[in-house]
């Protein structure tokens, strides 16, 4: 047994972030370097730390965490074993949880099946909220149309369920329909909070890849594109100059 402090600290954190300490899961070795410390206190510390971590995840992904509540213990136990905490921040922990859910859903069905899409949209909403904190040069007004690009703050998410109803704040949400849905998240002009927009597949593909300034003609003939570009600018999805 190493007596170096760093080795003892590594062992301690390995234990405090383990399912054994947090959930009392069996079959996990308790490292002997933790011996001498009352295990009940360590387990309490582990649960307290995990609750704090999930509080950060919940702050960014409240709907996702609420949706998995029925089978939360099983999912959270897998999360703990697969993804040790690596960052102090809310967004980083939420991203880690969202990535875990996506990977987990590829291996075995998750309930409800649309929870991965909800997590992706919640993460996109948080990403937009964070990005708009970064000051960017203002785009020139629509009056000088000539080039267009996706708004750097907009986030595009491809979903297998139409989960927008989950985000409706009024009324009983209807169950999401299983259909490929292309969602853009942005802050519309004059709004304070980000919003979800459904887009058609062609426009989604076009904007998703339109990072660089492109000629406005990519949006079709002059007549129909005026209204479209105007709507996209108002929705905070593109910039024009």
């Amino acid at each position: 047994m190493s007596n170096r402090l760093i080795d003892r600290q590594l062992s301690l954190l390995e234990y405090l972030t383990s399912g054994a300490a947090i959930f009392g899961s069996p079959c996990v070795n308790v490292d002997h370097t933790c011996s001498g410390i009352e295990s009940g206190l360590l387990d309490r510390e582990a649960r307290f730390s995990f609750d704090k971590r999930m509080g950060k995840v919940r702050a960014v992904l409240p709907l996702t965490v609420a949706l998995i509540e029925n089978n939360a213990i099983a999912v959270l136990q897998e999360f703990v074993e697969a993804c040790p905490p690596k960052d102090i921040g809310q967004f980083a922990n939420a991203l880690q949880f969202s990535d875990f859910l996506r990977a987990r859903a590829r291996r075995a069905p998750l309930a409800p099946p649309y929870v991965v899409d909800v997590a992706a949209c919640e993460l996109a909403l948080a990403r937009v909220r964070l990005r708009v904190d970064e000051p960017r040069p203002m785009a020139e007004s629509c009056g000088r149309h000539g080039a267009i690009r996706r708004h750097p703050d907009a986030v595009f998410v491809s979903c297998t369920y139409d989960v927008r109803s989950v985000f409706e704040v009024t009324g009983e949400p209807s169950p999401p329909e299983e259909r490929n849905t292309f969602v853009a998240v942005s802050i519309p002009q004059g709004a304070e909070a980000p919003q979800l927009f459904e887009m058609n597949a062609v426009l989604f593909d076009l904007l998703s890849s339109c990072h660089m300034w492109a000629d406005l003609s990519v949006f079709g003939a002059t007549g129909e594109r005026e209204d479209l570009v105007h709507d996209l600018v108002n929705s905070g999805l593109v910039e024009v100059r």
Partner: protein, 292 residues
Amino acid sequence: MDSPCCGVGIGYRFAIDDWTRRNLHRFDLLEVTVDHCMYRGKSTRSAIFELADHIPLTAHGIGLSIGTDVPLDLRYLDEVASIVDQLKAPAYSEHLAFTRVPERDLANLLPLPQTEAVAESIIAKIKTVQSRISVPFLLENISYLFTWPDSKLSDVDFLNVICGETGAGLLLDVENLYLNASNHGFNPYEFLDALPDGLVKEVHVAGGETVNDSAMGKSFLADSHAYPAPDAALDLLRAVLARHDPAAIVLERDDRLDAVNEILDDVARIRAVVASVQSGRSHVQSVDRSAA
């Protein structure tokens, strides 16, 4: 910033930014967590830095993990230095604790083995911090659930050795002292008596809660920063002020932030303690003058 004598304020929290800005006149200062400046976007950072034009700010950290037995993260430290400068903070404080090891960040403060060898390691690191940060460095006592079996020094002896060798001041968290004394059965006033006069440069006050842990079959006090400060913590504050002149007394609140009236009530209770101690001092001074 002009260092206020016993200035009373709160820890700045982004979730109540609007409320805080509307109520700046109620506080002498705000404490800004430097790590929050790192994780938010630039405009939020700018907004926090802009507060420095309206109210004195002091700088506090949660991410240094000075107790991890690896070299300090100098890039992190340099970022802290830049933020401290922009906050125009008169001091920078961190916890005597560790929170992470390579590849794992518990983001929760853990105690250190309280030995001479660990103290020496911390002393060397504090000297590095002091060489890179332009303002005085303060160490904060943490609350802890467990202790290391090889600890030889008491909490206060461990702090005194480190602060004595480095000249670092103490950010005394009276709530942590109260919790530790309750949970681990020692006399918090003996802790205070063992501190050199004037060592306490800032104070934290907060309110925790009693947790009944069925798995452990007992209850303990937890440092949740969610409830009004207990009277016992304010009694400790009163004892601190009798022998120390902290520049800042900061109320920490991290949960139930919508209960803003509780925050204001706690600030008023802290101010009442400060006023009563200062009035006691004035009384003693006038008696001294009369006697002379």
